[in-house]
């Protein structure tokens, strides 16, 4: 009896398995294609439209491919209209300063918090964790009045100082990394007569490079794309515009010239696209590390 069922069943199971297997493969790729299509379509339409001149834009459907794929006149015009050269310069200055300062103070704080047991250690950690709960936009109501009092409104360095406040995620990334660096490194250096500064600067910081890259990419993307505070604190748009806020030029009378706007939008995210293609792995790691903080 048992032998009989054993003989019949396998073929049935295998058949059933392969059928569901094929269905699963179809469902799997269909859903991936569907969601990739949904992700890409708004961007594709932008791309298509950015290459059309005014007449073509008005007379053709937005999804019809342009006559010429090398008609860059919209890009040039958008770049000039929105003063994007200046915007890229400002964004670059902000990015370099913010990343440099926040990396240094972030790694220093993480070093102290991880390597030394002192009375305030837990308190400082909790202060940073709690700060992450406060939604940034709500806080700007009163931060704005403080920035006014400190005369930091409408200056690039005021905005930079504000953006340097180290966020919890990068501190977490650094602390986690420090935990995996053996303290015997520090100890042997101390025996050799090294100061704490030397240990931090010469020994640990170079080892911390992967964590620094990860958190710089995350913080860099955040800073480059930041628009709310930039609009609030960098009010002189002609001089102090960043790449994100320079796009605001296209509201108002230019608001319906989408061929120009799409070109501007594409220019604004090209740097992010390049960094994404070059550093996918680090970006994904950073996102996953951000999840750990909860």
């Amino acid at each position: 009896m048992q032998a009989k069922t054993a003989k019949i069943k396998p073929s049935k199971i295998v058949h059933h398995y392969t059928l569901s297997h094929y269905i699963w493969i179809i469902v799997k790729y269909a859903s991936l294609l569907l969601f990739s299509f949904m992700a890409v379509i708004p961007l594709v339409s932008c791309f298509v439209t950015a290459f059309k001149d005014d007449v073509e834009y008005q007379s053709t459907n937005v999804m019809t491919p342009p006559v010429s794929w090398v008609n860059f006149s919209n890009f040039i015009k958008a770049f000039q209209t929105a003063n994007m050269g200046n915007a890229f310069k400002n964004s670059a200055i902000i990015l370099i300063c913010v990343l440099l300062i926040s990396t240094i103070i972030g790694t220093q704080l993480a070093y102290v918090l991880n390597r030394f047991a002192f009375p305030m250690n837990g308190l400082i950690r909790n202060l940073f964790t709690f700060a992450a709960l406060l939604p940034g936009i709500a806080m700007q109501v009163s931060v704005y009045s403080i920035m006014l009092h400190l005369h930091l409104v409408n200056s690039l360095y005021g905005y930079i100082i504000m953006m340097c406040g180290t966020d919890v995620i990068s501190i977490y990334i650094y602390i986690q990394f420090f935990e995996n660096l053996s303290t015997s490194l520090d100890e042997s250096a101390i025996i050799d007569g090294a100061s704490y500064w030397t240990i931090y600067w010469r020994i640990l910081l170079p080892l911390l490079k992967p964590a620094i890259v990860t958190s710089c990419i995350l913080k860099g993307a955040g800073t480059y794309n930041e628009y709310y505070c930039a609009m609030l604190y960098l009010q002189d748009k002609t001089k102090l515009g960043t790449v994100a806020t320079s796009l605001y030029t296209f509201t108002g009378p230019l608001g319906s010239k989408y061929n120009l706007i799409c070109a501007g939008v594409i220019i604004s995210f090209i740097p992010a696209l390049i960094v994404f293609i070059a550093c996918q792995k680090q970006i994904y790691n950073g996102i996953a590390a951000g999840a750990v903080k909860g």
Partner: protein
């Protein structure tokens, strides 16, 4: 003087110096740009004031206005749309993450395409979706490809029956990939041997998901669902950049932003901010309690703390041993 100098030269002094020196700047930044404004905000909420000029103490009047103003109460209801959107987003992100963590051709490409919108700046997204939803433009064209009649389609951003869903979709579009990558990270941290064992036992994909993947990532999924509640309450970007809060799309923070920076009713805006903060803190507290009592195995923080203490003890012991050895060496040298 020399006493102070010798203190800074001593091990203990050096230690104090490095602790203070390394933590003072981040702490000042934290206090100036987070905690001081936080306290100021609470203070402001009891005043009738603008950014400049005289302020008048009004007690709880701002809070009373907060609950009576139609616009504000209505804006809180809108967060329900974003909550529903967030739950759908988490489920789809989980589904895609499960697929992408298995063997898939061109998985990296799919992952990249779905993730990239996360890296586009908010104002560009505003323009992209204004364009996307314009009558006869992108969405209408795509829908007409699959047989919809363009005439019968609604105005996606004007029609109040649908415009909040349109905005929710734009935030779904931006954050789906981020959530997915987060879940992929969590799934990848599951031991691969478990899948192999399950495969050998004849478990199908659904069973693998139900009995292996889900239990090991339920902590992070629950965490994300709870975070999405606080996130929905503070929904801001989509309505701010796409519709500027017009046509009944003003969420709580969009209304607050307008009251603070356009109307300059700083007191009322502060009261709104304080109110929402309290709600968010309550949600977070519930989350912490939930995790403490329901997901006991999730308390890895405590574990790592214990592990760390043990490690520190070990390190100290080692240091002592080394010091003793050195002393012995010195003594031996002295003896010679």
């Amino acid at each position: 003087m020399s006493k102070i100098q010798s203190f800074f030269k001593s091990k203990k002094g050096q230690r104090a110096l490095i602790i203070v020196g390394f933590s003072i700047i981040p702490l000042i930044l934290l206090l100036v740009f987070t905690y001081y404004p936080f306290l100021e905000m609470i203070k402001f909420s009891f005043y009738n004031m603008r950014y400049a000029g005289a302020r008048k103490f009004v007690g709880f009047k701002n809070y009373i206005t907060l609950f009576n103003k139609r616009e504000i109460a209505g804006s809180l209801v809108l967060s329900l749309y974003y909550m529903v959107g967030a739950v759908i987003q988490i489920s789809i992100a989980l589904y895609l993450a499960t697929i992408l963590s298995m063997k898939v051709r061109m998985g990296g490409l799919f992952k990249g395409l779905i993730f990239f919108p996360f890296l586009i700046n908010g104002i560009a997204i505003g323009f992209i979706f204004k364009f996307f939803y314009t009558r006869g433009f992108v969405l209408d064209t795509v829908l007409s490809w699959i047989g919809f009649n363009m005439e019968t389609l609604p105005y996606w951003l004007k029609d109040q029956a649908i415009n909040n869903w349109s905005l929710v979709y734009s935030s779904f579009w931006k954050y789906l990939g981020q959530n997915m990558v987060l879940f992929i990270g969590a799934i990848m941290s599951v031991d691969a041997a478990l899948y192999e064992a399950a495969e050998l036992d004849g478990a199908n994909k659904f069973q693998q998901f139900r009995y292996i993947i889900l239990p090991s990532i339920k902590t992070i999924v629950t965490l994300n669902i709870i975070l999405s509640i606080t996130g929905s309450l503070s929904a801001f970007e989509a309505p701010y950049v796409i519709t500027s809060g017009n046509n009944g799309t003003g969420t709580f923070f969009v209304v607050m932003n307008k009251i603070a920076h356009t109307d300059q009713k700083v007191g009322l805006a502060s009261a709104m901010a304080v109110f929402l903060l309290v709600v968010i803190l309550i949600c977070t507290l519930i989350q912490k309690l939930l995790f403490k009592y329901i997901f006991r195995n999730a308390n890895t923080d405590d574990e790592s703390l214990k592990a760390k203490k043990a490690r520190e003890k070990e390190a100290k012991a080692k240091l002592k041993a080394i010091k003793a050895e050195q002393k012995a060496l010195k003594a031996a040298k002295g003896g010679n």
